[in-house]
Structures are given as structure tokens and as C-alpha cells.
Symmetry: C2
Subunit: 794 residues, 2 copies
């Protein structure tokens, strides 16, 4: 293994450049320490006194000097080479370092004039950090130039790659903590380079921040052999460059030389790839950097007799109790003065001119790059008229169709119409989720080897498939945050893998809604189409409809959940989702051949309503019903209709109302969710006092949770998934969970006043029907033809 | 990079051995195809007819021949070397292959006598697979020898390592799919070898199943260069051996030679490490295998003009429509006959004697190894009397203590008392969660380099820290499933990372409850102690109490949620959890200095009740109150008590009842959860008609969801986390979410009939108090002394 690094032996910076970059770095470090510690006396005009110190010392020093070193050196390269670059901070807890840099670059003062380049502005900068009413400790949405908060570790690289796709001139510098690199999601992200096209996509420059420690432990990457570490990064396809040391001047030279080498290499790779027209797949060996410097570098070496800088003790706040411990106070002052603030800032608090000279100007500043405020660049999708893709239907519940297959045709044309701003992401399930029509117009993007037997693997393509839900989600988030559009299709059960990533994204959206300079971005759209009821060949481990429960815990203003029952409602829903902004839309839809209930016209109106009475299936003639049968989701809708059919045939005088819910948020009060139906309207549909049987796609408690404040909640009885599953037939699955048509009829008999005794015969027939249906599956391995072949006969 | 492999050039099998192992493999393949396709005619005594074929063809052929090849060869080694081994199947969708092997080994027939070694038994075996009322398609809990279903991909290696810890003589063969290897959790698992001690732990032998494809895509690992692949696996610390080919005889020889080399190497490494007494950390370069054979090997090469074997098309069922397509039927028959069943089974369906000779006997069979039915080996923990570790209290709500710190002392002694069967897992948060006392008796297990400045890193230790929640969870699950005990401590927000892993484990527990031969295992215990209310320095991204919402979607019989409000209740709760079996216990508790409410005696009784009235805090004198103030969680309990104090001082005649809930499941009806309080009892505590204000740790809807069926639900008003957060003070956090004492007093005024107008002055004072409290934080950066220093004064 060859580990010699180009550039290590050269010293590209002349004395002045070296002095300038070091001053810039010292300034950033000074401002970082100031944010963590100081309430006042920002320029240290007088000796530090306890009252200058914050009462609560919050923040993470350890990672900060490294982050600022990288930032300063990237600035030099941006200016020298005219690069278009953004910065993704894996260790987002180093918030004060990044904020310091945005202040030095002038972006922060532009957005927040009171935090300007003055003594008072610097005081504000210090005070507001991690302070009530101030700014958060992380590189959150409040920080200009950030698309990645870095609170929950693991997504830096996938966000970076998402940002780079379809941005051929962009470079995304991505700092990965050596602790962060232990997480599964991060470990699974390195191979993103297999998917990045050097012609049509930009470049990610990963920088492993090998400062040796996480919180209280050393990191794995810091304690394996150099050879293994190099071997690992070569294995994932990179050319790793090592920058190592603790002498600032030497590290500056090495870092400058290495970055020069990396950007030369990147330029070469790009030029090379772009030279060959419509070239074959190439997977270039992109450069990456391993930066090995001490954690908490330039901070206190020893505190109270134990080493701090260069150990895990530097992670958060190296000096504690500074208000009460005069020694610590003195150490803090010495530490801050070691950066020689008098050289860095003039008497008014303004950064010295040579600092201001270092950083790029205008939108070239990483903190002002529009890619990091994607809404600025967002262009609408060109959407073909979905009405023209509708499934032809005859009557209601008689035509069979495959919802996602129908959607696939429309998606194909969405892809064609938006070749530079829409991508489809999935863990190798695009084909199995019946969206294969996409491949009539595009391919799966893939730079690794292709065999003659392969289909639809190509250097460029709009479909991104990798067996990692984390990577799909991270790429898509990065893609959206930089102003593009996309759709993630996954098994319903396994989307739980990204529960926590969804959380972070939803929080980001909520936060940005309140930040005036952040522009709205396209919604994050999920299509969950291998759902709980149709895991015929996978069984229990693949049966979990709980993602939507998880989603609705987040702020109502950012989440939407749809359960279109058939192809046309799915088309209408998806068109709506792809036009929306600042939401997370979850769409659950079937991929199996199933009955179609709505014509295109009806679908449009039904989806606009969000929920509605299906007159054609009801026998209440628009007047007060005896019972309401409500449903949400394709399988429950089928069972409700089959139950309504039985009731119509056996109890012709019973007035049954069938209600279908597409937009789940309609069920909530309008005080809780912007889509919520006002109580009066809700009561009109669900009545104030009649039994309501709700056949639901997911866990029944979700419906109760949405409706517990409604007038008629006492009479609401919900059937849904009760965690009973296995490999079996579709009808056996609904029977196991008491969601089947026969059970629903029994529920009606048991709940409609006056029916009980009078329908005892029917009740027994229904029990027998369940028994017969179950027996049939046990003998023949498939559902009864009458059940499987049922159609709406009226 | 040296890629030459020992063993590749040798042919260790003589003709007879080769013939035998090949026959065994053919038998397993035959039985696999039979399970996927046949209802009848298992021995192909007559030509296949459509009615012999299952109506629904479900299952995954592609991975199966590889899984069986490995199984057969491992069997040979177990017998030859007397190994103690279990088999973890990453691609768990290859269920029929593993079931076939358990049948050949005789384990399956022992457990299910009707599925015996006879023609009728074989017919049963075929029929039941993926059949309604039969067995699932995956290597689920129903499959003897499995500790890993492999439905949700990504956890094979972490489970395998969990099984190996503290089992020094065990070898865990772990097959990893090349698709699975793309997942984040799997990619983050390779470095588990940094934590495995060669003296006191067993060995994991990873086998990368490089069959080239996932569902419809090639895999990354199959399409990068040989050099990069080798480099990757050397980088993660292994010595990779390559077995490659598609000629069975050659692959048999190579596989046998390679396994011999691997087991020699493992024996050497163990002997070597064990020779040096109390040796230093060594991280041996353990062997691993890359098995590169075609997907769907030995299956149809081409179907309907397109290649199948060796392509992605072999993933599931290579021949479809066999009932209706005579060509396919003929191909199926030819395929099955290609295994020469007449040589493999005698006329009665019994496997030929030479097959029965190949596999090990008794508990040496991987399908009968007791480690894979951990409950068989489970021994109780020796638990020191937690009562002796209690926090001394004076009165109620006056002493300050740190709950997890107190727990830490007990945990330390639990660790000491159980040096071979208890481990503590966490993503580098044991110290920060204040459980540092553990390090008085043990260390963090770590085989990589150790520096003089390190603390508590040692080759052996009971604490497992790695910055990967997935790895912590997977290790712990593997450890529990093989009959040991453990505790996972994590930030509350980030435990969502393992939502889906929790799902799979809860499903496993639910399933095993119904499998008579599976013995109960120790519960999976979570301690979430950096919780939503005290993320003072981390902010919004770290604030999410939704894991418990997620958990209670799973079967009531397997989940438990506890919110002990102080140290003594935490001790009592944790003692209970560590004694329990077959549950997932979630315990949310504080780590910050906080008021203590219960003496040890009170704590014991309170936890036994699960919820109860705190008489000392109530003014209802045991009679009907005017209002109930309920609370769950440490921060809400503090606010409720402070509110009760204000009410006592300002409205002395108001009869207030304070109820604290430790066991959240008590709130549910007893029909829904075994811990549920019967309605009558519930109504006694919460009244049938009085306003109940519930201050809750998590999202308010969770309480509604648990109580919507209760008599007094209409009067229940819940305050909790409503997704408003940032970096701020503890009291500002509760104010932002309307959970603060002042807001609770306002709620009382607004809801208790008759108070409104009469308490208008107090209401206004409360508003002013909120205002003042907020202002104070904005000015001083910390909470008002009166608020932060409040104690129960009565
Ligand atoms: C998924 C996740 N788990 C745990 C944490 C808690 N945590 C915060 S910082 C940190 C250590 C990070 O180490 P590293 O990535 O090396 O960053 P640096 O050393 O640069 O601070 C941990 C474990 C987290 N933020 N995210
Ligand atoms: C986390 C997760 N995502 C998606 C799937 C759907 N899935 C089932 S099998 C499979 C392909 C597995 O490929 P590989 O691991 O190579 O197994 P093999 O080729 O041996 O079948 C996928 C994507 C899954 N089971 N788990
Ligand atoms: Mg680090
Ligand atoms: Mg594979």
C-alpha cells in the first residue's frame, strides 16, 4: 500500500499567506471560545472578570479548531480557483466555529445587522450563542450556509452527495467526524461515489476529521493502523491524502499543499470525464483528506493536573466553573489572549483588513452560497397533466388495476420533463414497486462495472437504487435542501429505518419556516407501496404500518399523510405532493392488482375533499344513516365495500353510509392541523350519534388519536392492524386482524341498535364464512374464489 | 496488496468426501426447490402435473444454493473438528434452504414429528412452506437454530458478534448478503472485531455471499475491483479468503480448503491469545471468506429466452406460472431431477445414509445448538439488593439527587456480581449518562491501541461503547438471544435510530411466545436518560420523546414503559426490568441533579402500584378532589408539584389530588394490556367527573391514546412536548411547551368549575410569572433562582 502523499513535502504558502491564513484561523478560534464563554468584554479590553462569563457554559470546543482550519483553507482555494463550494459539517456540534466563520465572512452581519463587525456586534455574537432567545449550539438551519445540522450524527456524507447530484460545477466539502464515521449510516455512505457521475454531477470532497476522540472514548479510526485506515479508504474507492500534525505552521503548509493537490485532481478528473462525449461509465478515484490534528487543538493543554487538549476531555467545555474558579478564569484569559486578538480585530471590533481579504466575496462565500439555501434555486417541476394518465374504469369497484403501475407511467413523463431536477430514490424496489415504466425513459445511475446481462444500469440516470434506506433518504434530503425535487419509494415496514432521519428533516423544515431568509424547498415525498396487507411472500417482519404514527408526532404544519385507495386517487395525490413545498408527504398505496373505485373525475374531487361519502356505495340516500362504514387504505376499502355489499343484500333496509378517507389529516380538528375538518362538517359526515366502523390501514389507535375530540368519538370503533401477521394469503391477513368483510358485518350487527337478535342468523353466517375462508386457504393455499374475485355488483 | 489465498490450490476432499458433500448440497437444494414449488409428489415418483404445484409460488431461490453450500461445508468442519457453532443467515429470505438443512439434520423432524424423514413428511415439509397455516418464508423464530430472521437486512454481523461475546468456545458463522453489505447498519458492523476479545469471547466467521445481485440490481461489492474489495476487508481488519467459481466440484474443494485454513487460523489465534495470561490487548486479524458463486446457482440457466441463473432474475422464483405453462412445468421437473433425488432419498423418503453421516450429532447440529435457543442457557442475574443503594431523602421534594448516578452504583455491583452474563451497551454515553460508577469495577472492552491518557479502555470489560446505536442494539440483541442479559443506554431522541430494529426484536419475542420449544430470554432493556427536557446544550435536534409512542404499537404482551420520577423509583424499576423475561422495557429517567420525592420504602410501594396518589402532595385528604394533577416523568413531576404548592398557598380550600405514574401501561384498560388498571380502580384515582390535568413527559396524544376508553376521558387535559425546542434553560423548555407550573395553575383555574372569575387575580399573576421567568432567562441566561431552586415547602 502506497501511503506517500503528494504535497506533503511542499510548502506552497509564502510567509505572508501563511501569516494571513493563520491569523484567520486564530480569529475563528478566538470567536469560537468567545461564544462559548463570554457575555461581555469581547475584545478583552480589560482583564476578564467573573461577570463577563456566561452562567451556563454550553458548547463543544473540541471539534471547533479543526472545523475552522478546514474552513479557512477552503476559503483560500475558493478565491484562488474561483470554486463554487458549500461546506457540510458532520460534527455539527461545532456550531460556534461555523458561526464564527460566517461572521468573519460578513454573511452573518448581513442577515443580522445587530451582530455586525463592531465591538457591540461581537458581544452580541458571543452572548446569543446557546443562550435563551439566542441561537442553537449546532450548525442548525439558523446558520447561513448550512444544509446539515449535524445533531444526530451519521448523515454528513449522504447529504453532501445529495447536494452534488446534478450540480456539475459544485464542490461539496464534507467534514466527517472520526466518531461519526463509526455510525452505520455514515459507514454505508462512502460508496456513494459509485453513483456520482463526474460529468453531470458535482464533487464531494470528504475530509475525515481524525481528532482521535468522540465524547469520552477514542475513535476506532484513530486507533487502527495507518495501513488499515488507508486500505479502508482505498477500498471504498478514494485516494486518501493525509494531513497530520500539531504545529500550526506545518499543518497549514501541508493542508494547503494537500488541498491544492485535491482540487487539481478534481479538476483533472472532471475535465477528463467531460472530454469524452457520452463517455462510458467511469468511477474515478476521487481524492479525500484525512486530517489528523489534536482534539481541542490550541486550547488548554492541561487543566487541574490532567491533560485536556488532544484528549477526549476537550470535547465540550475544557474549563468549567470559570465564574467561581479564579485559576480557570485566568487560564481562559490566557487561552483567549494566545490568539492575539489585538492583531485580529481593530479597536472597533472589526476584523483586520488582511482577514477580510482572505475570504471570498458575495455568493462565493460558503455561508452565502445559494445552493445552501436551496429554495433560492428551486424551480417548479414541469408536470404532465396527470388526468391523462388515469386508469379507465367501468362503474365502481369492477375494473382491476395496479395503482403504482399506473403512477409509473406518469412518473416516467415527469422524469422526462425534468431531466435536471427530479430523481427517484429507492432501496432496489423501483421495479418491485411496479414503477418500472420509469426505465422506458431513464436508467439507474451507476459508475461501477456493467455486465451485458444488466438492464438499465448507466452512467447517468434519474433512478438511484442502493440497498440502504439511510443513503436513499440522505441523498434525497441533500438533493431537496439544495433546491431540487424527488421521491423515495420503499417498503412500508422498512421506512422505519429512517424514522430518526425523518425527525431531523421535519425539525429542519419547522425551523426554517420561521427563518425569513430561508426560502421554501420542495417537499420530501415518500411512496410506501409494499405495504402491511400485501406481504404475501415476506411475512411478519415486513408487516408494520407504524411510520405514519411516527410522522404525525411532528409539527402539523410540516406533515401530511395520504392513503389513496386506487390508481386515480394516487395520481391526483402524487401530483399534489410534487407541487407542494416545505412538507413531508407520506403516501401509502398498493402495488398489487386491485379494484378501482373512482373515475378520474371522481378521484380529483375526492382528493380535493380529502374524505367523502361514496354515494354509490351507500344506502342512506344522503340522509341520516344507521351506521357509517369508514375506510382508509386500499385493503380496508375493499373490505368495507364487500361488507356494504353483504349488508345491502342481507339487510336491505339498513341505511349504510360508506366514507373513504384519502387525507388522514382531515380527521383531526382544524385547531390541530391545517387540513383538519371543522367539527360541524365532520359531524355531518360521521354523524353525531351513529355507530361508526372504521376499517383502517394502520394501527387502530392512530384513528382514535386523531379523532378523540370529535363529538361522536364514543361510537367510533376502529379495526386495523393489530400486529398479527405471517406469510399467508391477502384475505387470511385481514381475517387475522379482524378487518375482513365478514367481521365488519358482525361489527355492524353488534353495534347498530336493534340489529343484534334480529340479525343473529346473518351473524352466524358471517362466522361460518370466516371459517370457510380460513379453511380454504389451509387446504388450497389461496383465497376462496368468491372472496378473491369479489367485485362491486350494484 | 497480497491477494493470494491459502488453500485455493489444495484439494482436501477425497472422492468419497467430495461425493458426499455434493450429495448433501444437492439434497438441500432439492428440498429447497420442493418447498417453493410442490404441494405433492415430493419424490417425483411420477411426472410433475399442474396439481402438484402450489397455486402461489412464494420464496427466494437465488440466495439458497449458496446458503446450503456453506451449511454443508460447515457441517463437515464441525464434525471433523468438534466445533461449537451456530449459523446466522443474513439473507434470511433464503428460509427454505435453512429449513431444508434442519430437516436433513433431523432437528426439524424431532420438533415436528409429522414433518419426519418419510415421503409424507417431505410432502408436509414442502407444503407448509409459505403456506397459510404453515411456516414463514424467512429464517424466522420458527426455524430451529436461528437467532436472526434476516427479514430486515443489515443486522447479521451485529447479531453474530453479540452471540460471540462471553462465549469463548463458540464460533458464529455469519453469512452476509452482498446486497445486505450495502446497508448502513451492516457497513458499520465490520469493526466489531475491535471489541471482540480473543481470550474471553468466541469468534465470528463472516462469509460475504458475493452472488452479485440484490433484487433487481447488481451489488456494489460485486462490481468494484478485486483489489478494492480486498482492500476494504483488510481495512476493516480481516484476512479475506476468496472462494470463487461455478463448477461445483472445484468450489467444493476450494471451500473445504478455505474453511480448513480459516478454522486453523482461528484455532491459532485463540491459542496464541490464550497462551499469554492476562495478555495485553491484541486485535488479531481474523479470517473471513468471500464466496463468489452465481445467484440461483444450479437453477434454470435461461427461461423464456432470457438468462436467469447468475443474474438478478434468480432472486425469487425463477420459473413462474408453472401450473399453466407446460414448458415451465417441464423445466421445473428437469431442474429438480438434475439433483438426482433417487440417489439422495430412499424409497420411503428418508435421506440416504451417507447424507445422514455428514451432519453432526445432537447439540452439535447448528439447528440444535442451545446457544441458538438462548433461553435454554439463561441463568438469572445475581442482583444485589437495590434497597441498599437508595438515595437518602429528607421529607419529599427537598433532597437533590441524580437518578442515574445513584443507579450507576447498583449497576456497578450488578456488573461485579455477573462477570460472565451482563453487559452495558451505549453509543459513548455511559459516562455522560452518569453511569460512570461502572468503571469502578470494569472497563470498556477494546482491542485497538490504548494511549497512556486513556481511561478504562481494556481488552476485557463489561461496557461496550461504540458510536453506533445500530451496533449497540444488534450486539445486545445477539447477546440476549443467546441467553445473557444487558442494558442499552442512549439519548432519548436518538434511540429512534433503532426503531426498526426494536420492531424486529419485538416481533421475534411475540412469535417465540407461541413456539413451545423456544425458551424465554431476558428482556431487552433501554435506559433513556438524556431526555427531551434536559438538552440544555444540544437543542432541538436532540429533543424527541417519541420512542415510547413507537414502542407501544407492538403487542402489549411484550412491551413495557416506565417513567420513574426519581432515583429510588429508578432503582426499583430497573431491578424489576433486569429480572423480567421476554419483554422490551423502556425506562426514561433523568441524569441531572433533581429533587427526590420518594424514600426507598415509598418507592418500592409506588413502583409496585405503577401509579398512585401522593398523599403528601395532595390536599384532598383521600376524599373526592376538585382537580387531579397527574404527572409522568421527572420534569413534569417537578412542575406538577410546584403547581400544587402554588395552589395550596393561593387557593387553600381547593382540594387537589396529585397522582404520579411510573408504569405508563397502567393507564390502558386491562383488556388492552396486562398491566392495565381495571376501570373501577382507574376511576377511583382519576375520578369519574373531575378535571384531570396530566403533565406528561412525551407527546400529549400518547396519554389520550392510552386513556380514550376511560370514563373520565372527556375531562382529561394533557400537557406535554409539542415539538417546541431549542438550546435553552430547563424552565424555558417547559414554558415553551406549556408544561410549566404557572401554566398548570392557569389550566386549573380555567378548568375547575367555579374558579374562573374568582381566581382572575391569580391567573394574571401566573401570566406575569411566566413573563418574568422568560425575561430572566433572556437577560441572565439562566432560570430565576426561585424557579430553579424551588423545593417542596410543606
Ligand atoms: C447518532 C448520534 N449518537 C450519539 C450522539 C451523541 N454525540 C454527540 S457528539 C458525539 C461524539 C462525536 O465524535 P466525532 O464525530 O469524532 O466528533 P468530534 O470529535 O469532531 O467532536 C456523540 C457520540 C449523536 N450526536 N448522534
Ligand atoms: C432493510 C431492507 N431493505 C430492503 C429489503 C428488501 N429486500 C429483500 S431481499 C433484498 C436483496 C438482498 O440482496 P442480498 O443481500 O445480496 O441477498 P441475496 O442476493 O443473497 O438474496 C432486498 C433489497 C429488505 N429485506 N431489508
Ligand atoms: Mg472526533
Ligand atoms: Mg446478493
Amino acid at each position: 500500500m502506497d501511503t506517500t502523499q503528494p504535497g506533503l513535502d511542499t510548502a506552497p504558502l509564502d510567509d505572508e499567506e501563511l501569516a494571513r491564513i493563520d491569523a484567520y484561523w486564530r480569529a475563528a478560534n478566538y470567536l469560537t471560545v468567545g461564544q462559548i464563554y463570554l457575555l461581555d468584554n469581547p475584545l478583552l479590553r480589560e482583564p476578564l472578570r467573573p461577570e463577563h462569563i456566561k452562567p451556563r457554559l454550553l458548547g463543544h470546543w473540541g471539534t471547533s479548531p479543526g472545523l475552522s482550519l478546514i474552513y479557512a483553507h477552503l476559503n483560500r482555494c475558493i478565491t484562488a480557483r474561483g470554486l463554487d463550494m458549500i461546506y457540510v459539517t458532520g460534527p455539527g456540534h461545532g456550531g460556534p466555529a461555523i458561526v464564527a466563520n460566517t461572521w468573519l465572512e460578513g454573511t452573518y452581519p448581513e442577515l443580522h445587522p445587530s451582530v455586525n463587525h463592531s465591538e457591540e456586534g461581537m458581544k452580541q455574537l458571543f452572548r446569543q450563542f446557546s443562550f435563551p432567545g439566542g441561537i442553537p449550539s449546532h450548525v442548525a438551519a439558523e446558520v447561513p450556509g448550512s444544509i446539515h445540522e449535524g445533531g444526530e450524527l451519521g448523515y454528513a456524507l449522504s447529504h453532501a452527495f445529495g447536494a452534488a447530484f446534478d450540480n456539475p460545477d459544485l464542490t461539496v466539502a464534507c467534514v466527517v467526524g472520526d466518531g461519526e464515521a463509526e455510525t452505520g449510516p455514515l459507514a454505508g455512505s462512502w460508496f456513494s461515489n459509485v453513483f456520482l457521475n463526474p460529468v453531470s454531477d458535482g464533487t464531494v470532497l470528504p475530509i475525515l476529521h481524525l481528532n482521535g476522540y468522540k465524547i469520552a472514548n477514542p475513535t476506532i479510526f484513530a486507533r487502527i493502523s495507518d495501513e488499515d485506515r488507508m486500505s479502508y479508504f482505498r477500498g471504498v474507492g478514494y485516494e486518501p491524502f493525509l494531513v497530520e500534525g500539531d504545529d500550526p505552521a506545518a499543518v497549514h503548509q501541508s493542508m494547503a499543499a494537500t488541498l491544492d493537490a485535491c482540487f487539481d485532481r478534481i479538476a483533472e478528473i472532471r475535465a477528463d470525464a467531460r472530454r469524452r462525449a457520452n463517455g462510458q461509465a467511469v468511477r474515478p478515484r476521487w481524492p479525500m483528506i484525512i486530517l489528523r490534528t489534536p482534539k481541542g487543538w490550541t486550547g488548554p493543554a492541561e487543566v487541574d493536573g490532567v491533560p485536556v487538549a488532544g484528549t477526549w476531555r476537550a470535547h465540550q467545555v475544557p474549563l468549567s466553573g470559570v465564574r467561581t474558579n479564579p485559576d480557570h478564569l485566568a487560564m481562559l484569559e490566557a487561552w483567549m489572549r494566545s490568539y492575539r486578538p489585538e492583531e485580529l480585530f481593530d479597536a472597533t471590533g472589526k476584523p483586520a483588513p488582511e482577514l477580510l481579504d482572505l475570504h471570498p466575496r458575495g455568493a462565493q462565500r460558503m455561508s452565502a452560497n445559494p445552493h445552501a439555501n436551496g429554495g433560492l434555486l428551486l424551480r417548479d417541476l414541469v408536470l404532465p397533466d396527470y388526468r391523462e394518465y388515469g386508469q379507465e374504469t367501468e362503474g365502481h369497484g369492477r375494473t382491476t388495476g395496479e395503482a403504482t403501475k399506473v403512477l409509473g407511467k406518469w412518473l416516467r413523463d415527469v422524469i422526462s420533463a425534468n431531466p435536471d431536477r427530479f430523481r427517484l430514490f429507492g432501496p432496489d424496489e423501483v421495479e418491485s414497486n411496479r414503477l418500472g415504466a420509469a426505465f422506458e425513459t431513464t436508467d439507474r445511475q451507476w459508475q461501477a462495472d456493467v455486465y451485458p446481462t444488466d438492464e438499465h444500469q448507466a452512467p447517468q440516470g434519474r433512478v438511484m437504487e442502493v440497498l440502504s434506506e439511510h443513503l436513499c433518504e440522505g441523498w434525497l434530503e441533500g438533493y431537496l435542501l439544495t433546491g431540487r425535487h424527488g421521491l423515495f419509494t420503499s417498503y412500508e415496514a422498512f421506512i422505519h429505518l429512517v424514522d430518526s432521519m425523518f425527525n431531523q428533516h421535519a425539525k429542519w423544515l419547522k425551523t426554517t419556516n420561521a427563518i425569513p431568509w430561508r426560502r421554501p424547498i420542495a417537499s420530501l415525498n415518500y411512496l410506501l407501496s409494499s405495504h402491511v396487507w400485501r406481504q404475501d411472500h415476506n411475512g411478519f417482519s415486513h408487516q408494520d404500518p407504524g411510520f405514519i404514527d411516527h410522522v404525525i408526532n411532528k409539527k402539523a404544519e410540516v406533515v401530511r399523510v395520504y392513503l389513496p385507495p386506487d390508481a386515480n386517487t394516487l395520481l391526483s395525490t402524487m401530483d399534489h405532493c410534487l407541487r407542494s413545498r416545505q412538507y413531508v408527504n407520506v403516501v401509502v398505496a398498493g402495488k398489487q392488482p386491485a379494484l378501482q373505485y373512482t373515475s378520474m373525475d371522481e378521484a380529483v374531487r375526492h382528493c380535493e375533499r380529502g374524505l367523502g361519502i361514496w354515494e354509490w356505495a351507500s344506502t342512506d340516500e344522503g340522509r341520516s344513516p344507521d351506521v357509517v362504514l369508514a375506510c382508509a387504505g386500499d385493503s380496508p376499502t375493499l373490505e368495507v365495500l364487500a361488507a356494504a355489499d353483504i349488508l345491502r343484500q342481507t339487510l336491505p333496509r339498513l341505511r349504510v353510509r360508506v366514507v373513504n378517507v384519502v387525507d388522514l389529516m382531515r380527521l383531526q380538528p382544524d385547531t390541530e392541523h391545517p387540513h383538519g375538518l371543522p367539527d360541524r362538517q365532520f359531524d355531518t359526515v360521521f354523524t353525531a350519534d351513529k355507530p361508526v366502523l372504521f376499517a383502517f390501514h394502520g394501527y387502530p389507535t392512530l384513528i382514535h388519536r386523531l379523532t378523540y375530540r370529535r363529538t361522536n368519538h364514543e361510537n367510533l370503533h376502529v379495526r386495523g392492524y393489530k400486529e398479527e401477521g405471517t406469510t399467508t394469503t391477502p384475505f387470511d391477513m385481514v381475517m387475522r386482524n379482524d378487518l375482513d368483510r365478514f367481521r365488519l358485518v358482525i361489527d355492524v350487527i353488534d353495534r347498530v341498535p336493534g340489529l343484534g337478535e334480529n340479525a343473529a342468523g346473518l351473524r352466524q353466517q358471517m362466522e361460518d364464512a370466516r371459517h370457510a375462508a380460513r379453511e380454504h386457504t389451509r387446504t388450497h393455499g389461496e383465497d376462496l374464489p368468491d372472496v378473491a374475485g369479489w367485485e362491486w355488483p350494484h
